[in-house]
Symmetry: C2
Subunit: 509 residues, 2 copies
């Protein structure tokens, strides 16, 4: 989930200086429009210590008109507060119509800390999170706009930051033993953050994960999301009342410049190394070894009567080598034990049901393997980019998918998700080769060429997908696919490693 | 919650015979329209054993075209099913567009039974219920209509039914030891049913509680709700596409007759005895006694440092005696310890917030008492009847209110809700007396007379309110108010009893 917030995104000082003045004018203008429209705005800032929650909230106060903003940070409850239900303090502070409330961690703080320190277990955590959902739903139903930011720092970046503060005589006091203690609990914080975000990212109150290491990037990203969300919601509100869309001063055409700078940031796919290569001889050796290993592991799994079912799914750009990777796996399996489901256009019957229905029906029995060549992620990839699904449909699909995968994994399914990536040059080379190779030409369609033109949109969709659906229970495995040999062996090895780990944990039980 | 399903509602054989033919035609007609509109329909039938789930589903199949209906009952999962996630069996059976699926207990069965038999605790139950909410939301978001019925029988009615079956040589086999065992667990079933319904009655998939004892009433009530819900949803769908509303054959004007028969059923307020009277001398004695008791209990509560806060709220028809009852309570309290909040039009500041905000702000500190003269229930009473709130607003208010009250009670607040009732004749007499008594004349406004005309609508609103918000943790106390003396003493005694019980349970902790 946090992979996309560890890419080292940054904005240079000169770009920042150039962009900030107009962004401020836009924010101020939109703030006035929100005031006139009598809409309350709730902004939640949570996240890893030191990822810039405080700095960001100060900045938003500076960039907008602070008379209509109130900022709320919460320490231990006062006795006034302790004597009332826990949510009383948040209700007190809710902004009225036309005002902004900035909430630091707020209602997320207690559930997260209590789980990290083992005061609560998973189902108690979930109960608190569903209470939060009810609360936020009530606020949204009443007409408020809710925007939630999670500021992220990698474990290493957080350590760097603490070390740097400690080495500065003037700032050393800022680092306490508690900070280091929390840092040592980093993995638990990330685990609970992930669950929290999955359970509370709703249509009305979605989370945005922001990479927090570079101040300039973080400030621009947060401010742009605030600006764009408010503008979108104002436009929606006006559409209902048949008013014309919001004119942000005369700046509407300029609103793009910050967005453009931000979209030029490295995407997760661009961050993958391009030059991983396996020589043919080495490939042959490794392939043989891993296939024998898989066959062996698979038989072991079945024998021990612990054979939970396995689902492998493959997504990736066209010509990324999905088919080839799949064949190298099935070669190790008994044909009676697996099934490959290539996802093409749905059948009539499938079309008549919920889009997940066709995937539910193919869930394998115990001890069997289902391999999806493309999958339910089509909803947030091709259906999003090609506009087959409405925006509200693909937006809510993230939580529907997380939910579906939780059903799978908690019933014992081993679910492995692979994204095979090739860069544009390699893809072009493969397309051309296909054109020239008679028995492969059928694989190449006009659509493939069209998809290539939409590469930028697909990359954004992949970034969002990984941010919202890569989780501890069902992580995405990103496979560098420029070299087919490397990719196939990486996929095989990953399947073996994961299956082995699952077997081991079963035996320990 | 189930008070309104224990009123002995019934429909005579002759009425039933008269009404059924046209209802069947309407149902068939609407079923065709749903098919043409390609909308899937999910109907869930759950409830107390013997309350007629099976009979009702058979009837719906008989009254509609069974080719487009599939009915699903679930026993222990097959091995096919056991080897997949628990929801797999329900996904398999979901109806396609234009078809009806009738689900007997289905996904509600396991969470309810496991809680009754103490396999799960409250937070595990809640987790399963929130999984159900996600599932149903997904189905609704996809365009399905979901209608859920809970068939209810009182404990006594269930016993009568079992006894009757046992005494019939031909039907005796139907009664097993398990039935009696379940009957002995009746209270636990009701408790979990209540929680289940509170947590899973959502805007998209609301529950309807049906009194199951009289077959005729039950059949008509269920069929009418199916008919009306489908018609409403079809009309909504057509509004979006700017089609004209559904014409149910030429029966649209006749659609009222079943509705009318059903609305002539006893309301919960009409079921209250009208002639409870306390003589003046007895009143004086009891008043003194209970006031002393309250004052004593209240001091005890404070002394033990266990003084949780108390919230009393009073609703009722105009001139039902709310003010008088409140004064008899405050007479026993120290003026520094309580506050009476009369709910009139909201202030500017309150108007700028969520409607519950004004109630949250007045939540008392520990050891204090807040008395609301009218309350948050205005949302589902006056605001509903007078159309100050939109239908979607008052409909979702039930779960918002349940949620709010759960916050209160789980933080230790003793919450007592009183409905004071006078019948129309007594109300009229009081209005006339007010007109003639100079120092009371200000109390009577034109609005009071107008409200009187809407008595029927108010009674329906009260029925719904009690069905949806009377819960084990925050029950409604209905007070027969035709005799003021009786009513005041009943209120005082109830407050004392409840406070005493709360104190006792604290001490036992």
């Amino acid at each position: 989930m946090f992979e996309t917030a560890e890419l080292g995104r940054k904005v240079s000082k000169s770009d920042y200086k150039k962009l900030v003045p107009e962004l401020r004018v836009q924010l101020l203008e939109i703030q006035q429009q929100v005031r006139q429209a009598n809409i309350p705005v709730v902004i939640v800032l949570a996240g890893v210590d030191g990822a810039g929650k405080g700095a960001t909230v100060n900045l938003l106060n500076e960039w907008m008109d602070p008379r209509w903003i109130s900022t709320h940070a919460y320490t231990d409850p006062s006795d006034e507060e302790r004597e009332r239900p826990p949510f009383w303090r948040y209700w007190r502070d809710l902004p009225g119509r036309g005002a902004f409330g900035m909430f630091m961690s707020a209602w997320y703080s207690k559930p997260i800390l209590e789980w990290v320190h083992e005061v609560t277990d998973h189902s108690e955590l979930d109960e608190e999170l569903s209470q939060i959902n009810n609360f936020e739903k009530m606020v949204v139903d009443d007409g408020a706009i809710v925007i939630k930011f999670w500021m992220h720092l990698s474990r290493a970046a957080q350590k760097r930051r603490l070390k740097k503060l400690e080495s500065d005589p003037l700032l050393r006091w800022k680092v306490t033993e508690k900070d280091w203690k929390n840092w040592r609990l980093y993995e638990r914080f990330i685990e609970v953050a992930e669950r929290t975000m999955q359970k509370t990212s709703t249509g009305g109150a979605p989370w945005h994960i922001i990479e927090g290491e570079d101040d300039n990037y973080r400030n621009l990203a947060v401010a742009a999301i605030v600006r764009d969300t408010l503008k979108r919601k104002l436009d929606q509100a006006r559409q209902l009342t048949e008013h014309p869309p919001v004119e942000v001063g005369e700046l509407t055409e300029q609103i793009e410049s910050v967005t453009e700078t931000l979209s030029q940031q490295t995407s997760i796919l661009e961050s993958l190394p391009r030059d991983l290569v396996l020589e043919k001889s080495e490939y042959k050796r490794a392939l043989k070894e891993q296939q024998a290993r898989l066959s062996d592991l698979f038989r072991k799994a079945g024998k021990k009567q612990k054979g939970d079912s396995i689902i492998l799914l493959f997504e990736g750009s066209d010509a990324a080598g999905k088919g080839g990777a799949i064949r190298r796996i099935t070669a190790s399996l008994d044909a009676r034990s697996y099934r490959v489901i290539p996802i093409a256009a749905p059948t009539d019957e499938e079309q008549a049901h919920h889009y997940l229905w066709r995937f539910w029906r193919h869930i394998p029995r115990k001890g069997r393997v289902t391999i999806y060549d493309r999958s339910w992620y089509g909803r947030v990839l091709v259906e999003r980019v090609e506009k087959f699904a409405k925006e509200e449909e693909w937006r809510r699909a993230y939580s529907e998918i997380n939910d579906f995968e939780e059903h799978l994994v908690s019933s014992g399914v081993l679910l492995l998700k692979f994204w095979l990536h090739v860069d544009p040059d390699e893809q072009l080379a493969r397309f051309k080769l296909r054109e020239q190779t008679p028995h492969k030409a059928w694989k190449l369609t006009d659509e493939d060429w069209r998809n290539r033109d939409k590469r930028q949109e697909y990359e954004e969709a992949v970034d969002d997908m990984i941010q919202r659906t890569s989780s501890t229970i069902a992580p995405w495995f990103l496979v560098e696919g420029n070299n087919k040999y490397y990719a196939r062996v990486k996929v095989l090895t990953t399947v073996c490693d994961q299956l082995e780990a699952q077997l081991k944990s079963k035996i320990e039980e």
